[in-house]
């Protein structure tokens, strides 16, 4: 593997998000809070979401992880903030599908997160990229099951 493949993985956009993550921090009164970790490597994410009328009103994450997991969480929060839970679930499905199967056509709807398609070439890192998205999936499920009104 050469530097250009590495450059592909660590695009400036990914580095920027990792070094200056958006929506990083804690929410005062979250409706749902999910703590997930990647047991193979110890990455942890704490995802907090405030829902309003089946929309994601506020979202924030904290925790600790590699640049891929941090950038992915940052990009995801940018993307889903303000979306309906149905839309967000669709984005999660598209993102997971992109990392499992179809790297050649990064989805247009994913915003910055589309650059994470490069992770497919680094199978050991896919779990880093998907951690935040799995946390959001759980947060939405919990909200639908127990939360809301």
């Amino acid at each position: 593997m050469n530097i250009s493949q590495l450059n592909d993985l660590y695009r400036q956009l990914i580095i920027d998000h990792a070094q200056h993550p958006h929506h990083h921090g804690e929410l005062a009164q979250a409706d749902q809070q999910i703590n997930l970790n990647n047991p193979t490597c110890g990455d942890v994410i704490d995802l907090q979401v405030i829902f309003e009328n089946e929309y994601i009103k506020e979202i924030a994450f904290s925790g600790d992880g590699c640049s891929i997991s941090q950038a992915s969480a940052s990009m995801m929060c940018d993307l889903v903030k303000g979306q309906s839970t149905a839309q967000a679930k669709q984005e999660i499905a598209v993102f997971l599908e992109m990392l499992m199967n179809n790297p050649d056509e990064p989805s247009e709807t994913l915003g910055d997160a589309a650059v994470l398609a490069a992770v497919v070439k680094f199978p050991a890192r896919i779990k880093c990229a998907t951690l935040a998205w799995k946390a959001l999936e759980q947060a939405i499920t919990q909200e639908e099951d127990h939360g809301g009104n």
Binding site: M1, N2, L9, Y10, C41, D64, G65, C66
Partner: protein, 408 residues
């Protein structure tokens, strides 16, 4: 005749392969070691000409292979300075330690007794004790690190009381490389009547182990970390203690007599080896120990110390690199955990991977230790005698490249 260590590398076919179009630089020896051709050849020979089930056939080949299987038990006993009746074959270190926790611990632990372990334990010498402590109503206590990165021996001594029934600790830390003074600790523990269980996964194959000299009560190690096959491990236990320990599994070959309602078991070690054992792996383990013996401890330890000093000093010289663990003395095995400021160890490992350098990044199955060190993960380079100066050079070059790449 003693084999020359400089050429030993050529005995390991995997080391001649490539990874990401670069010659592989294998520095994950604490996870598993590569296998020399004589071990691989021995496995092939077994399957081609010796494959039968052991301990039960009347025919000549079954007898011959059973004899070879039992010869490896003798060989392991000699290797550890034990008796063959004290050597139980298991699936690996994890199984060995679990068996001691599940089967031996209940014979000596009463509610409110204490089990003493250390903060540097691998999960396989930690979780089994948590579970058994919960089950028996015992207390699990920890020995912490001192400021120099060694076990806090003062605290260890102070923690030993008449309530302490088991002290379980690693001989060599898989994260920090610390070599613990087992013999000293055993003396202290025995004074209060506690039994000592040693996790030898990172020690055997890197330094001589004499269980009589250490006077430990149990000692566990894995074949795959001593240049042998996966799926085979060893539990050494003092004869009297194995005798008081009930079998963990029941089945064929471990019995003397079965009637409708009752069973009489064979004595140890047979009572622990229920069912068909990993016979090929036992035979392969024998070949691995032969191989180690042909090199001799002096060469193995000199080369591993050399690599530790070389890599340790060069890593330390890179601005932003933090090494964890004790100072680089001879009480340090060739395992180096480190971090590069501003670069997460996974990102570091990915850059190293791109250069063919295989290291480990993560918590190394030692999460409580990571918490104590106040890190979430580290990078770890671990060496074997077959590594050379060029491997160290490739590691250092790749770490510097990562530093540049991430502008850390």
């Amino acid at each position: 005749m003693v084999k020359d260590i400089a050429t030993a590398r050529n005995d390991f076919p995997l080391l001649a392969t490539t990874m990401n179009q670069a010659p592989i630089t294998y520095l994950d020896n604490a996870a598993t070691t590569q296998k020399p051709q004589p071990v691989i050849d021995r496995l092939i020979k077994y399957y081609q000409t010796e494959n039968v089930n052991v301990q039960r056939g009347v025919y000549a080949l079954a007898q011959a292979t059973t004899t070879k299987y039992e010869q490896v038990r003798q060989q392991v006993a000699d290797f550890l300075n034990a008796q063959p009746t004290e050597i139980v074959f298991t699936r690996g270190t994890t199984t060995s330690l679990n068996w001691v926790a599940q089967s031996f611990a209940p014979t000596v632990i009463q509610p409110d007794d204490e089990i003493l372990i250390t903060i540097m334990e691998h999960h396989s010498n930690l979780v089994p004790w948590q579970i058994v402590a919960q089950k028996l109503g015992a207390r699990l206590r920890y020995v912490e690190l001192d400021d120099a990165g060694h076990l806090d021996l003062k605290q260890l001594q102070a923690s030993l009381t008449s309530r302490t029934k088991i002290v379980a600790l690693t001989h060599v830390s898989n994260v920090l490389g610390t070599i613990n003074p087992i013999k000293q600790i055993t003396t202290w523990a025995h004074r209060v009547g506690a039994y000592v269980v040693v996790d030898g996964a990172q020690a055997v194959g890197h330094l001589p182990v004499d269980v009589q000299d250490l006077d430990c009560d149990f000692y566990a190690f894995s074949g795959h970390k001593v240049y042998g096959p996966t799926g085979i491990g060893v539990l050494y236990g003092k004869a009297a203690l194995l005798a008081q320990m009930p079998p963990v599994e029941y089945g064929g070959e471990m019995i003397n007599l079965v009637t409708r309602q009752t069973t009489d078991f064979k004595p140890a070690p047979a009572k622990f080896e229920a069912g068909t054992m990993p016979i090929a792996q036992v035979i392969g383990l024998g070949a691995a120990l032969d191989y180690l013996t042909s090199l001799g401890w002096s060469q193995i330890m000199t080369q591993e110390q050399h690599l530790l000093q070389l890599a340790g000093s060069q890593l330390q010289a890179i601005p932003g690199v933090t090494l964890y663990g004790p100072a680089l003395t001879t009480a340090h095995s060739a395992v180096l955990s480190f971090n590069l400021a501003g670069v997460h160890p996974h990102d570091l490992a990915t850059v190293l991977d791109s250069q063919g350098v295989a290291i480990r990044a993560g918590h190394h199955c030692a999460q409580p230790l990571m918490t104590a060190l106040q890190v979430s993960a580290t990078a770890r380079a671990s060496f074997a005698f077959y590594n050379n100066d060029q491997d160290v050079e490739r590691l250092i070059t790749a770490v510097k490249m990562a530093k540049e790449f991430f502008q850390a």
